[in-house]
């Protein structure tokens, strides 16, 4: 390892870390096939992370100082309606060039929890994104006057209710930043899960994600969200075939956007380096060095782009994600990974415990695992149940085909 790294001290430290990780992981998951090689790989990765972390920190320090908000920053609602009349929004008066650093204050204001989530989304798209009121209205399937009114009302509330125009102070920052990330990811999903995909929303979300990375460079979760969106969206062309959804393992990898995957990976690498350094404002990450939910989801998405897939690692990451998300859907995803690694029976055992009776994913997953076990009658029953609950047409077509293949 010293030869590999060319640095004795670093190598020693890395080896120690690798052994520590091995002691924990091998006890849990059993020893790998070639323990020596495993140790060298883990040690090398740790060392690279360390080098990267030091380098990143050195780069980020001046940036952080620049971005640290003045405590108790003033209330300047004037900026939000300094335009002429209601037709103008803050986004038009606060341009990138003129008020570059005010974009951050603006996004925190737009995503203030005192506004409804619909208003947060609309305001963020209107003032920070590049969409017109009409385009936002179309993306959310409401009429233009409705959307215009939503925006006017939201802006009026910002002013009348005293929503501050500032980056929140430290004791509020973690919660508020989580709200900002949620709005951006919601915009992404509105676009990504629609069929056909609403490209304008996906592109806006990615653009906002890039802005957040630029503005909150010390926050691992900002990088995590950008990486997650890039990696998910890289599979856009492979997700549907003849109007039917294509499961990840059946997707034609040549249709994946390789450039975007490598960008997503690069962003993720930076994130992981930041995580080990601890982010500003993200209390959980700073206290424990633990990655947050977006970083974990991005890491999982990244592992899914590799072949063969590292199922034990994917299972472990879902295990870390579950307590952060407090959602049985994460457990459902873990069950799928467990089924890939330990067999369908083990996956089914997890599914039995999940309170997701009304969610079609539970039944479609059960059906798939039962099918693999050759328990066709039960599989048919589960597919039928999933079909009763599913609302998306592309998913319905896949379920119908599977059911037909079972001779149901």
């Amino acid at each position: 390892m010293i030869g590999l790294l060319g640095d004795f001290e670093l190598a020693e430290e890395a080896a120690q870390e690798a052994f520590a990780i091995a002691a924990e992981r091998w006890a849990r998951d059993g020893a790998p096939e070639s323990p020596g090689a495993w140790l060298v790989t883990v040690g090398r990765n740790r060392a690279i992370n360390r080098i990267r972390r030091d380098r990143t920190l050195a780069q980020k320090l001046p940036l952080l100082a620049e971005l640290t908000p003045v405590a108790g920053g003033g209330v300047c609602h004037g900026d939000l309606d300094s335009g002429e009349g209601e037709g103008k929004t803050a986004g038009e008066t606060v341009g990138d060039e003129a008020f570059g650093d005010e974009r951050l204050e603006l996004i925190f204001t737009c995503c203030h929890p005192a506004l409804s989530i619909d208003a947060q989304v609309a305001l963020t798209l209107r003032t920070l994104g590049g969409l017109s009121t009409d385009e936002i209205a179309r993306a959310f399937l409401v009429s233009e006057p409705t959307m215009a009114q939503r925006l006017v009302r939201a802006k009026r509330k910002i002013k009348a209710a005293g929503i501050p125009f500032r980056v929140p102070p430290d004791h509020l920052l973690a919660d508020r930043f989580a709200a900002v990330l949620a709005v951006v990811y919601l915009i992404f999903n509105e676009g990504y899960s629609a069929q056909p995909t609403r490209r304008e929303l996906v592109d806006e979300a990615v653009r906002l994600g890039r802005a957040l990375v630029e503005l909150m460079a010390g926050e691992p979760e900002a990088h995590g969200l950008l990486a997650l969106m890039l990696l998910q969206d890289s599979r856009r062309d492979a997700r549907f075939r003849d109007g039917e959804i294509v499961l990840l393992s059946d997707q034609d990898r040549s249709l994946w956007d390789a450039a975007q995957i490598s960008e997503g990976r690069a962003v993720l690498d930076r994130t992981l380096a930041l995580c080990s350094g601890g982010g500003r404002g993200d209390a959980a990450a700073a206290a424990t060095g633990m990655p947050g939910p977006y970083v974990l989801q991005a890491a999982i998405a990244c592992l899914h782009t590799e072949e063969p897939r590292d199922w034990p690692q994917i299972i472990a990451l879902y295990g870390e994600l579950a307590p952060l998300m407090d959602s049985p859907v994460v457990e459902l995803n873990r069950a799928i990974a467990v089924a890939e690694h330990h067999g369908p029976q083990a996956g089914l055992a997890i599914l039995e415990r999940l309170p997701l009776e009304d969610i079609h994913y539970l039944h479609s997953t059960r059906a798939e695992l039962l099918r693999r076990l050759g328990r066709n009658k039960q599989a048919r029953h589960a597919y039928s149940r999933a079909l009763e609950l599913v609302s998306d047409d592309a998913e319905r077509r896949l379920l119908e085909r599977r059911l037909a293949e079972l001779g149901g």
């Binding site: 209330v75 005293g162 501050p164």
Partner: protein, 119 residues
Amino acid sequence: MKFMLLIHQGDTPTPRDPQAWATLSEEQQQAVFADYKAINMTPGVTPGVGMESPEMATTVRVKDGKTLTTDGPFAEMKEALGGYLLYEADDLDAAIELAARIPAARLGGAVEVRPIVQW
């Protein structure tokens, strides 16, 4: 700016209802008193007046010039107003933080923050 904090006490325990009040531990009871005291002493706060419980309320309506009264509060009992205070603060965030410290907010009630119109 100035905010009105409307405390929707509802059916959260108060000393006026000994049975409900007894559902709180001694520690919780002490915390309720201590919190209200600290809130009333917070700079910018003008404490409201104490009100009898919503059961003591009489609701008044006028229809065709005739005064109609009903027993009880206008809102549902569990949403009824229990008190209020005024708060002079920099912005909504400060008002939200104060509201979150009001015991009723964590005991099943809620606090509504309303900006006061400046004429």
